[in-house]
């Protein structure tokens, strides 16, 4: 009956107030993370210190129609030089039943539906490890990609009559210039599902999904992305624990074939007043090869991290983090990308 009420309201609006100029609600939000990091790799005798600064600012606009459908869009401004600078968000329609349809800048339904595995806060990490030849993934969503020319439909909660179930499906139909030295996602399909349930005082979130995207590079043998991911998280009082798994193959960069990719993550966090303690670990490996060749030798990446967050004020957190990394490239331990790293900084949301 609530729906009828809303519909009736829409009728009132269309009969009585048709032609009224619509006002858009414009808002901004931002996040700044400033701090210092220290790296101490296994190959160097002395550590290095450096600053770590990240900033983002988003302007968003939204309007709700008389029928209750919310139309929203926006764009962000990241640190100059960052890949996502000026990245617009496409259009999102949020319907009165809670479902939504994202148009453009869509096509990746799986990543939003997986459960978040707790992990350490902070920006610590061995410099260069992610951009090195090591193809081992760093997250269970690693390798997932899609083309922007698409849509994502996300159901309302309790979808299909199942309490706690939410699902998302997406498809994208990009067509980029074919080239042997460039690789982009073209036709992309993705689906994800979340199920939230309770057991005693514990709330359990289970999520999973897959992404498949074809590659514009005709010489690669892998799809641009063909990955599956699943995770589970449980919240009991102030304690949250979780685990996740990702697997598949993809094309890294423009020409690197990555096969037999797998990653397992586990983590926990505990909130005590204004202080949050978090620990996390991941174990990842993959086999990489040149364009057109299956991967043969194994790359791996093991990480163990911990952090302490302290709430300073509304929107402001102070963070101390530590990570230990062990990297192997082509079956050979890479001391220059292995070692420990720490971070001290602040995270400010506004």
């Amino acid at each position: 009956m609530k729906k009828e009420l809303l519909i009736a309201s829409a009728l009132v609006g269309s009969l009585g107030l048709a032609g009224v100029a619509e006002a858009a609600s414009v808002s901004f939000a931002g996040n700044v993370r400033n701090g210092v990091t220290g790296d101490d790799t296994d190959s160097s005798s002395g550590g290095t210190h450096s600053s770590d600064q990240k900033a983002s600012l988003t302007f968003s606009v939204e309007e709700t129609t008389d029928a209750g459908t919310k139309i929203s869009t926006g764009f962000n401004v990241f640190d100059e030089g960052a890949d996502d600078a000026g990245n617009p968000s496409g259009l999102t329609l949020t319907f009165t039943d809670g479902s939504s349809l994202a148009l453009v800048e869509a096509g990746n339904a799986a990543t939003g539906r997986i459960a978040t595995v707790p992990g350490a806060s902070g920006e610590q990490g061995i410099a260069g490890v992610t951009s090195s030849a090591n193809s081992a993934p760093t997250a269970i969503t690693y390798g997932s990609t899609s083309d922007n020319v698409g849509f994502t439909y996300t159901s309302a909660a309790d979808a299909l009559g199942v309490e706690g179930l939410t699902f998302g499906v997406s498809a994208a139909f990009g067509d980029d210039p074919d080239g042997s030295i460039s690789s982009t996602a073209e036709q992309s399909y993705s689906a994800g599902i979340t199920y939230v349930t309770t057991a005693g005082d514990t709330t359990v979130t289970i999520g999973g999904g897959f992404i498949n995207a074809t590659d514009s590079n005709p010489n690669t043998i892998n799809d641009k992305s063909d990955v599956v991911m699943a995770s589970i998280a449980a919240v009991t009082g102030d304690l949250t624990v979780g685990a996740g798994f990702g697997s598949g193959s993809y094309v890294d960069g423009d020409t690197t074939e990555v096969d037999s990719m797998s990653i397992t993550t586990v983590g926990a966090k505990y909130v005590s007043g204004d202080i949050t303690f978090a620990v996390g670990a991941s174990d990842a490996e993959a086999k990489d090869g040149a364009e057109g060749a299956n991967g043969t030798n194994t790359d791996s990446l093991e990480k163990v991290s911990a952090s302490v967050d302290y709430v300073v004020a509304s929107g402001v957190t102070a963070t101390v983090g530590y990570t230990d990394v062990s990297a192997v490239d082509e079956n050979v331990s890479k001391t220059s990308f292995s070692g420990s790293s720490w971070y001290i900084g602040a995270n400010i949301s506004f």
Binding site: T58, T65, G164
Partner: protein, 195 residues
């Protein structure tokens, strides 16, 4: 990727989804750890890499919001200066919220409406297509400014059981919020048309 993996994962999730549970769904949703749910719950408007948005969302949830409050900071680009509340003489409540609320629910029978206390109470309302269910609304307009905090909608629904007795249903916070949004939107447009 072997299609069997997809099917296996989907089957596992659907099997888990079919498990019975009777605990509070709203509370469970409020603790959902799905990435999209965390981002939505935090109220962040940030756009960009999902990992960065998630970090911001978690920071907002951890600290209770952003520097300027729980909601994203509003830009008054269109001259909607809240200092200009357009008060009507004798009405301590926002007239656009009041009129918007009345217009929104005008198809329902009104039990009482007091513009000085800002309270609208409807009578039970049912429809032919769903005559086994009836609902009523209590609407509270609590201030002179046109803002979210000054509007509260409480809905109460009942279903008739086999013994022809009306039984209270669980209050849906989500539906109340939807109704508030409809009234707020209506009020906003009334204000625009008045200006």
């Amino acid at each position: 990727m072997n299609i069997v993996n997809y099917c296996l994962a989907l089957f596992l999730l659907l099997a888990l989804a079919s498990c019975n549970n009777t605990l509070d769904r709203d509370e469970a949703r409020a603790k959902s750890q799905a990435r999209a749910d965390i981002i939505q719950r935090s109220g962040t408007k940030l756009i960009g890499k999902e990992s960065d948005v998630l970090i911001d969302a978690q920071n907002r949830l951890r600290t209770g919001g952003g520097l300027f409050g729980k909601k994203a900071s509003s830009l008054e680009l269109f001259g909607n200066n809240e200092k200009n509340t357009n008060l009507t003489m004798g009405m301590p409540i926002n007239p656009y919220l009041w009129k918007g609320a009345l217009e929104t629910i005008e198809f329902m029978p009104i039990s009482s409406a007091d513009p000085f206390s800002g309270i609208i109470i409807t009578d039970w309302y049912s429809t032919i297509s769903s005559n086994n269910e009836r609902c009523k609304l209590n609407i509270f307009i609590k201030g002179a400014q046109l803002k979210t905090n000054n509007l509260k909608v409480n809905s109460f629904c009942q279903l008739i059981n086999d013994n022809k007795i009306w039984v209270d249903q669980k209050i849906s916070i989500a539906d109340n919020i939807k109704l508030e949004n409809v009234i707020l939107n209506k009020a906003k447009k009334l204000k625009l048309s008045a200006n």
